[in-house]
Structures are given as C-alpha cells and as structure tokens.
C-alpha cells in the first residue's frame, strides 16, 4: 500500500488523423508502468481529449460472454475508434447504452471524451490505435468548435517543432539543447520521412468547420470502410462523391502551379480515413470525367473548366 503512487498522465489534444496514423508505442518494464502511443509529430500520449460526431456505436457480445460497445468518433480529419467494456465505469456504459438508442433515432451527437490510448497489432502485423473513454459527454457546437481550435493549436505546435527539428542534429543532446521534445526524435527515428502536407490540410479543414463554413460537423459524410475487413469494397462506390470532393479540394489546395503528385494526393485521402485503393479509383474517375487534368504523368491538377 505504501508504494509511491504513479503520477497521473496528462491528457493531450489530438485530431483523429494524427492519432490514427501512429504506429509506434512505448511501455515501461514494470507491471504498472503506463504505456504510450507516439505519433508522427512526436506527441507521446497515454491519455487524450478527443471530440467529434458520434458516427457509429454498437453493442457486441465478446467470446467470453462480456459486452463491449464499439464506436467511431469523426472529427474533421478522420475517425477515432473506441470501445467501452465491462472494465469501464457504470456511467460510461450507461451513457453508451443511451447513445446507441439516440443514434438509432437519427440524432446527431457531438461527443467529447477523455480517453486512454490503446495500441495493438494484428497477427498479420498491421498496427492500429484506438481509444478507451474514461469520461464523456455530449457537447454543444460552440464547445466542440473551441475544442477543435485548441487541438489545431497543439497540432500546429508539434508541426512547428517537427520543422525545426529537420535542421537539428538527430541526437538527444542536440534536441534538448534547442528545447525540442526528445519524444520527437524517437518519432523521427521510427517514422523516417513524414509529409506535413496532409496535416496542414487537416488543420485548414478543421478551421473551416470550427468557423461554421462547412456543415461537416453535424452532418456525417458517407462512411468509410473499417479495418474489420468484412465490408469488402462496397464503400468505394458509395463514398465516391465525398471522396471525389475531397480529392478535388486537396488538389486545389496543394497545387503550386505544376499540379500535385499521385502519392501526395493518396496520402491526403488516407490521412482523412479513406482507403487508398478507393482513392485511386476515384482519381481515375475524376480524370476520365474531365474534372482533373494530368499535365504530365503522375501529376494532377483541377481542370480549368473552360
């Protein structure tokens, strides 16, 4: 009983694209040592505050007879996957139960949650991150918008640190000397080259939504496929419209005169939670329908329309 209490881990503000694209985790050797997910931008997180539109929530029976709520929370940059199980507080399970019913009634629910981060690897070696909410509630649009801006600010700070770090010798000492978090060095060693463009695009999108320019905060865009693998490719046809819009927007944003390369476009789509293959085929459709030009092989731009 007299063991020193383990200090509480602070919560970080993360948008879904940054958390969802993380594949690195770290755990201390002791049984009670906290575990962390380390993102591409160098955030080392055990706990997050996430928010978004509750897009799906289902009650599942697990193999051992316990119950598990599985859900998705959409923010402007993508999806958070979360689960609420028997290990959660009674009020968290009660809330999940209520929200399942409200979702079935078609009510849009903006949800704020404090959650523990989880990292897992499938037998095939694919890595996923997910959340286990500790506390949650439904929030107003204004509270959501302000949270979104706070999260944008945190993300921007990490992006700026990342950019600064490119000029710094990649050693712990050098990072510490210029005041950069050493977690960022760990992230850079793991992820190698990171393209900041998708993150920047995410922030632009988030600002639009926080300002109320886009209605995406309260009207869910079409579903993307889940990493459960049971949907097949049914999603590619039904999400083509929204995905097409996204691609056109991304290309318009990123084009600096010579078009945008294939890889950057697809990375942007994936960062927003779309399947790469689906983005490829929609890109083809846009080209065929004349909405996009390919001025040289593998480079795309929005057709002038004249």
């Amino acid at each position: 009983m007299e063991r020193a209490r383990i200090a509480r881990q602070p919560a970080h503000l993360l948008l879904a694209s940054e958390f969802g694209s993380a594949t690195l985790h770290e755990k201390g050797s002791g049984e009670y040592d906290p575990s962390f997910v380390i993102t591409k931008l160098g955030a080392k997180v055990n706990r997050v505050v996430a928010a978004g539109l509750l897009e799906r929530l289902e009650l599942r029976e697990t193999a051992n007879g316990s119950t598990l709520y599985q859900g998705q929370l959409r923010d402007p940059t993508g999806l958070h996957y979360f689960s609420v199980g028997d290990y959660n507080s009674e009020i968290m399970r009660e809330l999940s139960h209520q929200w399942v019913e409200r979702l079935e009634d078609g009510e849009p629910l903006l949800v704020m949650m404090t959650a523990k981060t989880r990292w897992y690897q499938t037998d095939e070696g694919a890595v996923y991150t997910s959340l286990r909410p500790e506390e949650a509630c439904v929030v107003s649009r204004e509270v959501y918008a302000n949270w979104l801006l706070d999260a944008c600010q945190s993300t921007m700070e990490r992006m700026n640190n990342f950019t600064t770090s490119l000029e710094v010798e990649p050693t712990m000492d050098a990072f510490a000397r210029v005041g950069l978090p050493t977690d960022l060095l760990v992230a850079r060693n793991h992820y190698g080259e990171v393209d900041l463009e998708p993150f920047k695009l995410n922030l632009m999108q988030a600002l639009d939504i926080a300002e109320g320019r886009l209605e995406a905060a309260t009207t869910p865009p079409p579903m993307m496929s889940l990493p459960t693998g049971d949907e097949g490719d049914a999603t590619s046809s039904e999400s083509g419209g929204a995905l097409g819009e996204l691609l056109l927007q991304a290309i318009a944003h990123l084009d600096q005169g010579e078009g945008v390369d294939f890889d950057t476009i697809l990375k942007n789509a994936v960062a927003r939670g779309h399947v790469r293959e689906a983005a490829e085929s929609v890109l083809d459709e846009l080209l065929e329908s004349g909405q996009l030009d390919e001025p040289r092989f593998g480079w795309f731009r929005v057709a002038s329309g004249e």
């Binding site: 602070p10 009020i91 949650a136 929030v139 204004e142 918008a145 801006l149 921007m156």
Partner: protein, 206 residues
Amino acid sequence: MPITVKVTGARVRAWQGIPDITIDNAEQLEVLDAPPWDESLDLANHSVSVSLPDVAADPSRVGIETTGMVVSVREDSGFIMRCTECRRVLRDGACFDHGVNEGNEDVRLRLVVDEAGATTAVLVNKEASLASLSLTYDEMKSKVEELGDIGFVQLVREHVLGRSVNVRGRSIVDEQGAMILAEAMQISERDAQMRASEMRTQWGWS
C-alpha cells in the same frame, strides 16, 4: 487601519506555499505612511497569473490563478460530509482520525485540469462550485435528488468537460503531484469564429 509595515531582518519559513515570518524584536518593524505599491492593487483579492505547467513544477504558492482544460470530473464531486472535528471528508460516515460522526455537509467539485502536457488536481470550494454551475444550494440539492450522485456528476461533465477554465486560489505541490484549492472558477467563454480567424492570420492562411 490597515497599517503598512516594512519588515527587515526577520526569519522566514514557509509551509505549503504560505510564508511564516517570525519577528524577533520591534526594531525589525518600520511603520510606513503609505503603501509603497499602486493604490489600485486590492490585496484582499490579489492573484498572480501563472501558467499551469509552472504551477505543477513550482513549489506551493498562494494567490495564483491559472488556465487549463477540464479533462476529468471525479465521481466524488458534489455533496460531501466533513468531520465535525477536523473537516476531513468522511468515508462511510467515519473520519480516519475521529471515528464515526454525523459530519457537516459541504459542496465541492474535484476536477483534473491539464494544459501543455502538465496536470493538476483542482478542488473547487462550495461558493465557486455553485457559482460556476449557476446553481443555488437548494437548486443543487434538488438536482442531486432528481439525478442521483453520479447523475449529478455527469451533469457537471456536460458543463465543463473539454472546456477551458480559469481557477484562482492556492497550490499545494508535493511528490503526489500538484493540487489547486480554488476559491473561484470561471469557464472561459470563447468565440470560435473569432479565434479561428485569428489563427488563420497568425499562420498566414488568411
């Protein structure tokens, strides 16, 4: 009254951020004609703004205010019973030191407020709790009767979770972490539209 004095050569100790000044003889005191600071300073209500990471890293302090995001409303927020002898919160109707006693009812919120990778526990006193929820004592009583203890906690979450708050009071920092005893709490009212355009300008995206 009040009289302003200048103290020199006294012995100073501090415990939990509160200085303890021992004056050994009258020569150490000098009575001043007027306060040496600006008259607009209201000492009864004075606080210094400190960033939350500094609150968590510094020793205990009195008279501070700080801002952060509420990330947790603990389930023992709401009505509590305090020991009639020592004000410690009763557990199952008993005080750790003074045994079973009927206790005195009190109200408090127990929050966790985080900012920039630092975390603090925040205990909000009765007046500040009621004020921040815009409830009178009686209104809160009937809320708790209507919703139950946990239902009330959930109501508080709907009010503050994920929101930026400014708290004023004193901090106690020890090996268990940082705690703020708050005598005032203000939920920040922020205009998202305005903030977004300020951020665009700052980032050169406008």
